[in-house]
């Protein structure tokens, strides 16, 4: 596939199409805005003897300006988040004011007659080097603070504006080399029409968040950042995974049509929302939504979700800088529970670690975060923190529409330990006479191959399974889902993955529990008939995908779905499997659809 194609519009500007990985559907048309957070290039310059005082003054002015900025951030953090966290910025201000650096900078400007930014950068580098010579483990963090301060000051010396995502308030399409999940949480939907990043894969958490916030996004653009300028007119197509720079009128028209079409289709499909997801021969599939933030429950209901199949509670954590208190968690869970009542909510306990970095949990750098200390592993090591979450969850359950789910379970002992902690919290609540659902359903995410293969023993300890295909695929195929070089190896239709899914469903049913699926695959129209045929009881996906999946389920019979599943499970290559699925889909729903 060609990376880009070039044509010229009538102003003779080059119209270029870049292709990346589609991350969140929808079309955005607007002006590009480059998020420039790179270290800027600082050049060495000589100044005249009589300019030295001016240069020193420039340096002092930049110090003042930077101090004012940091002070503002500090005040904001103190007021809106936590006065304790403001201390970090007090520390940054002290670093900024430290004469260890500043005296040396002024001295050196006089001596070398170099420009202030060049001298400052050199002195900071030397200071960091002296710090690095110690063997301290926490040094990295300290250097981060020094870097944050010094890059802010260099920006001010050069007169470049420093930007946070919250401060963007005119509608733009954001272009960045990389974004963190927390960045996305901070985006204002009315000002960020869409975004593109150079790194990332289809199921990175940045992509998942964008989808749930319904912000069109393309990731894995490789070098788009270097090819584009702020204020250029661009089109971003998150469905196809394309970015068009300087579109000509015809292209613009085309995409405007596409944008309207996608919007219309969304409306049309949302009319399906009152109907149940039931096959023609009356096999009912529970179709629910995955959410990240309490407010996502509204759009879940709007698109006809029959419940919340996965509430990724760790985003409560990512939206702020410290672990949410029991009260904050309770309020978030309660908000969702009462919004969807009498429908139910599956609360998944914190899945921190991996690319959702949790400094405050003490999760420092790990060579292999996805194989590391995360999710249930971290929670079992921090039982007191974990029990705060379990308590908040149980307290929300009095109306009996809450289920609890543990992530990253790899063997029965882990589940037993987690359940034992839950029992402790239950006893405590009983003792304090706080009402909760004593028969609350407790399930697990099946997302590690070992869990999929130990389905029978796990099913005896769980009330339900929910298959997390994103991690299951990555762990089965040993593919880092965020690495764009090998993203093509990340294949849900790999026969081994499908067999693990089938085995999990069968093990659940053999032991009388229901089995759902909450990964990306649940929202892939190409997979729906197959999954129904394999016997899945519930599918949980992003809200926007629900109408289309429902339409598919309502158009098939369970019997023919089972036949397709049998056929697929007998095939041995990804290509054969995809070919059959695409042909089957085209036969049913027409070729133009996908």
């Amino acid at each position: 596939m060609p990376l880009r194609s070039i044509k010229r519009n009538k102003n003779k500007e080059v119209c270029t199409i870049y292709r990346g990985i589609p991350a969140s559907p929808g079309v955005a048309i607007g002006k590009a805005f480059l998020l420039n957070r790179e270290a800027v290039e600082v050049k060495e310059k000589k100044i005249d003897e009589n300019e030295i005082q001016k240069e020193i003054l420039k340096f002092k002015k930049a110090l003042d300006e930077t101090k004012r900025e940091l002070f503002k951030i500090k005040e904001k953090v103190a007021k809106r988040i936590d006065p304790d966290h403001a201390k970090i910025f007090e520390g940054q201000i002290l670093i900024l004011e430290d004469d260890l650096i500043n005296d040396r900078v002024i001295e050196r400007i006089k001596q070398t007659r170099n420009n202030a930014e060049f001298v400052y950068k050199k002195v900071v580098e030397q200071t960091i080097q002296t710090l690095s010579s110690s063997t301290d483990e926490y040094l990295k963090e300290r250097i981060l603070d020094i870097n944050a301060v010094s890059s802010r000051l260099v920006y001010n010396l050069l007169g470049i504006k420093h930007l946070t995502l919250e401060s963007i308030d005119s509608p733009v399409i954001l272009i960045a080399r990389t974004l963190s999940p927390a960045d996305v949480v901070h985006m204002k939907k009315e000002s960020i029409l869409g975004f593109a990043t150079d790194v990332g894969g289809e199921t990175s958490h940045v992509a998942l968040l964008a989808k749930s916030m319904q912000i069109p996004a393309v990731v894995g653009m490789k070098d788009l950042f270097d090819q584009i300028q702020t204020d250029q007119s661009i089109i971003l197509d998150g469905t196809k995974g394309e970015v068009v720079i300087c579109p000509d009128e015809k292209t613009l028209e085309e995409f405007e049509k596409r944008r309207t079409y996608i919007l219309k289709k969304t409306v049309e499909l949302s009319e399906l929302k009152l109907l149940t997801a039931e096959t023609q021969d009356k096999r009912k599939i529970e179709l629910s939504a995955n959410i990240e933030l309490p407010q996502d429950a509204d759009s879940a209901l709007e698109y006809g979700a029959e419940g919340i199949g996965l509430f990724r509670t760790e985003y409560l954590y990512l939206a702020q800088s410290d672990l949410p208190t029991e009260e904050e968690q309770y309020r978030a869970y309660e908000e969702v529970a009462s919004k969807v009542f009498p429908k139910s909510v599956i609360l998944r306990t914190f899945d921190l670690g991996g690319d959702k970095f949790g400094q405050n949990l003490g999760i420092l750098y790990e060579a292999n975060p996805f194989l590391g200390w995360r999710a249930i592993r971290a929670c079992l090591d921090l039982p007191e923190l974990f029990k705060i979450q379990l308590r908040a969850m149980l307290k929300t359950s009095a109306k009996k529409n809450i289920k609890i789910m543990f992530p990253m379970i790899s063997e029965v002992e882990e589940l037993k330990k987690a359940k034992a902690l839950l029992e402790e919290v239950k006893d405590e609540l009983k003792h304090k006479k706080i009402p909760f659902d004593e028969n609350i359903e407790v399930g697990i995410m099946v997302e590690i191959p070992s869990a999929a293969l130990a389905g029978d023993s796990l099913a005896k300890e769980a009330n339900f399974f929910s298959i997390g295909t994103n991690d299951l695929i990555q762990y089965t195929l040993a593919v880092d889902r965020g690495n764009e070089r090998i993203a093509h190896l990340y294949q849900g239709f790999h026969p081994a993955v499908l067999r693990l899914i089938k085995e999990t469903i069968d093990a659940g049913h053999r032991n009388g529990i229901w089995v759902g699926l909450c990964g990306e695959m649940a929202g892939d129209p190409l997979a729906t008939v197959l999954l129904v045929g394999m016997g899945v009881d519930e599918l949980s996906t992003s809200a926007m995908a629900i109408p289309e999946i429902k339409k598919i389920i309502r158009s098939i019979t369970f019997e023919e779905a089972q036949r397709l599943a049998d056929q697929i499970l007998s095939l041995s290559t990804i290509n054969d499997i995809k070919k059959v699925l695409i042909e089957d889909y085209a036969k049913r729903f027409g070729r133009d659809n996908k």
Binding site: D84, K87, I88, E90, G91, Q92, L94, I95, D98, D99, L100, I101, T127, T130, L131, S134, T135, D136, E137, Y138, L139, E141, R142, D145, I146
Partner: protein
């Protein structure tokens, strides 16, 4: 000159936040205040220097003050260490 040996008992050691508290407190005194850990001695009023001590939990730091308010300075700085810089 007044001296006192204190132990770092807060979990994360003298990272940015406690170092900031220490420097802010030290700067309120007129005395010259220095911190010593092993054979490294630094100015307690410079955050970068304090951070350079790399004082982790369990390490010992000697607070030294010289000047008109030396006794009070050592007293108050030692208190910060004892109170774990308000952590936990």
């Amino acid at each position: 000159m007044v001296e006192r040996k204190v132990e770092v008992i807060n979990k994360l050691g003298l990272h940015v936040r406690p170092a900031a508290m220490l420097v802010q407190k030290a700067s309120k005194f007129k005395s010259e205040i220095r911190l010593q850990k092993d054979d490294l001695e630094v100015n307690a009023k410079s955050i970068l220097s304090v951070m350079a001590l790399a004082a982790q939990m369990g390490s010992f730091v000697i607070i030294k003050a010289e000047g008109e308010d030396e006794a009070l300075a050592v007293e108050e700085l030692a208190k910060l260490f004892e109170e774990k810089f308000g952590e936990e």
